[in-house]
Amino acid sequence: AADPPVIRIGWSVPAQTQHYVMMKKPGILKHYGKAYKADWVNFPGSVAIIQAIASKNLDAGGISIVPLARTIEQKAANLKIVADMMSERKGGFQTTWVTLESSGIKTIADLKGKTMGVAGYGSTTDLLARAILRKNGIDPDRDVKRVEVPFPVMESAMRKGDIVAGELAQPFYANAKARGGIRELFTAQEVLPVLPLLVEAFTAEFMAAHPQAVKAFLEDYVTALDFARDPKNRDEVVGIVAEVSKLPRDVLATFLLTPQDYFMSPDAMPDVEAIQKTLDFLKEGGVLKTQLDAKSMVDVSLHPRAKR
Amino acid sequence: MAASAAKIVVRGLAKEFADRTTGRAVPAIGGLDLDVLAREFVCLLGPSGCGKSTLLYVLGGFVSATAGTVLIDGKPVGPPGPDRGIIFQEYALFPWLTVLDNVMYGIRGAASPAERRARAEALIAKVHLNGFEGHYPRHLSGGMKQRVAIARTLAHDPDILLADEPFGALDTQTRTLMQEELLRIWEADRKTILFVTHSVEEAVILADRVVVMTARPGRIKADIAVPLPRPRDYDALVRDPVAIELRAELWRLVKEEVVRARGAG
């Protein structure tokens, strides 16, 4: 038989547990090496993965929603969302804006005139924070000073007093919480109850050329997801994530695969409705220039758990 | 003498240097005519700063003249080439090469490496530097460097030799030995030599003709044949009336220019 097609797939950290399991435990996968092979390439983030896809160096990747939407809007690459990866919603962790208990900040309105930390200007969470601030009567550009602080430094900057509030993703939230003295200020819940954080995307060209490979890949993807979600494997999965992220195991153990972790949908199906809401939100915020249709962006024809 | 027969013909040569600091032009040579016949040994005398080195640079093809023509073998002077060898006033030894390698630098042609080496070693012996073949220039005394420079230029055996005070850093006795060596080479290899010197004595011993330059901007002040038979003996010339007369005359000519330059200052 001919060699199975190679899927060149981009991944990044954090929050791609399905990928990490697939990379580190190919033994549990049914089709790996038979129906397809995977070339796992790490990138610093979704933008880099998209650039690699646009320059034809990748066929697929775990991508966050804003860059994906912008890519499709600009027709830079014909990407299809084929599976859900992680989302922020009730029942799972949501990026949280926190303050110190001692800071005296009780409500969002108290932030007026204060300095707060932004992990990345222009990122999805930044757009959400802006919307929430505005909703609470605070002009994000004028009423507060917002400085860019990398996630890992956020807690320290807050404790040191450089900023009074800041956003924390996992594992930084778990870490800060464990050290105590932190109070939650708000989450994105208010503006977007469900935020599809990361999705698995393939180029339409690759799907057309190798449908069997993609199908097999998605089956394995679901297998990895099931493996990760199985409580008896938790220790092993924590170990895998620790190895991949190089973060201390004990830190990860405090939240990983608990309700404090990002939400992984058990059926791995993309939530079209939530995606559409997110696209609408982005259009409203001016990030997207055109109205995109979530349905046309999603292609679950090869998804093993799609209702046909 | 017919201009066409001369090896080197200089007509109306002028050279000005742009002085970047003041923006004015500094005239170094101002309308100089000179002929040098093939195989002639011409010495050039002149006050310090009168343009002697500059003249050699123009003949060597290193700097271009501001005005005038320079013909070598009837053709306008070209870029620097192995037909004209030059011994620079400031030696210009390659500091990254040993004495031997400096001298071997210019030897080329069909010679095998062993032959080239032998030739270089012979020349090093002629300038009395045997034993110093492996030394780098910075480990040599002033006079030794100068002798390496002489050997290096002689090694590549140019047709025309332009020498800028080549013996200036040598004691009188070593200088005499070098003069004898140079005359031997000149006679054997039939070179044309233009030789800048500060020493009237040296000019009289070496030259067929002595050319005296004026103070800056340099022109030819006098062009005097040396009517002394060769080989010339140093001790004999001390007492030779023609030589004494010639020396006095040259002395007087240069002195005039030095005084003039001083007045002009």
Binding site: V47, T71, A76, V118, Y121, V147, E148, P150, D162, I163 | -
Partner: protein, 258 residues
């Protein structure tokens, strides 16, 4: 006189002669992305980028960020010059300083300073301080190394002359070794200018709320490729200008040099 009249135009052409390769690259860039040879998402046409740049500039936002970056470069580079030249001179002239500083520098310089950004943020603040510190840390390398190598090979007779005229070693450092090393110091300065620009943009990309690097990373996150390239073109122009200034200064200061 016709020659005199023709002169300005001729001069202008002469000046163009040094820029034509840049024009060629711009033309190639434009043609490639117009002809569809490259994905315009990755490389938008030059003309669109320039128009976009003009819009950003007239809007004023870009100029603010440019000023922020330049301030950081100027401060970091200034500190690096003030520290690097004396360090290089001292290292070249004192065997003790050399022996102590050499291993320290050999260890410190190759450290990728991006890794120190979190620390710099906490130590020097989220505004200018951290960026200035990083610019300083990396711009120091070319200045120290160039000054050191330039000073090391100072003609010993020049030093001897100064000593014989009663100069103290300190004075010799400033009056002899420094000028002797100046040609190489200028090489180091040229490099330091480029390095500073590189570092400031990198630091601003990793964590900053202003500056050209910030503009670029913001545009990158929202995939506004034209803004990304507008920032890049601005960086190029600034670098070109800064380099030109250094070369002019070099020409003026080194009149005595070949």
């Amino acid at each position: 006189m016709s020659a005199a009249a023709a002169r300005p135009a001729w001069r202008a052409l002469l000046r163009l002669r040094r820029g034509y390769s840049v024009l060629l690259v711009l033309a190639a860039w434009e043609t490639a992305s117009r002809a569809g040879a490259v994905n315009t998402f990755l490389l938008p046409p030059a003309s669109e980028v320039l128009v976009n740049l003009w819009n950003l500039a007239t809007e004023g936002r870009l100029l603010f960020h440019l000023a922020e970056s330049l301030l950081r470069v100027a401060a970091g580079l200034g500190l690096a010059v003030a520290a690097g030249i004396p360090l290089g001179l001292w290292k070249a002239r004192s065997r003790l300083a050399d022996a102590v500083l050499d291993p320290v520098m050999a260890f410190w310089f190759p450290v990728p300073k991006v890794g120190l950004i979190p620390l710099a943020l906490l130590f020097f603040g989220f505004a200018h301080g951290s960026k200035i510190a990083l610019v300083f840390a990396d711009a120091l390398l070319p200045l120290v190394v160039a000054t050191y190598h330039g000073a090391l090979h100072t003609d010993r007779r020049l030093i001897w002359s100064a000593r014989a005229m009663g100069d103290s070693e300190r004075r010799i450092l400033w009056r002899v070794v420094l000028p002797a090393a100046l040609p190489q110091i200028f090489t180091g300065l040229r490099l330091a200018v480029t390095v500073s620009l590189l570092v400031v943009f990198l630091a601003e990309m990793v964590a900053s709320s202003s500056g050209l690097g910030h503009v670029m990373i913001y545009a990158l996150r929202t995939l506004e490729t034209k803004d990304v390239f507008s920032a890049l073109v601005t960086i190029s122009l600034i670098a070109f200008l800064a380099d030109w200034l250094v070369i002019q200064a070099r020409r003026r200061v080194l009149v005595w040099h070949a």
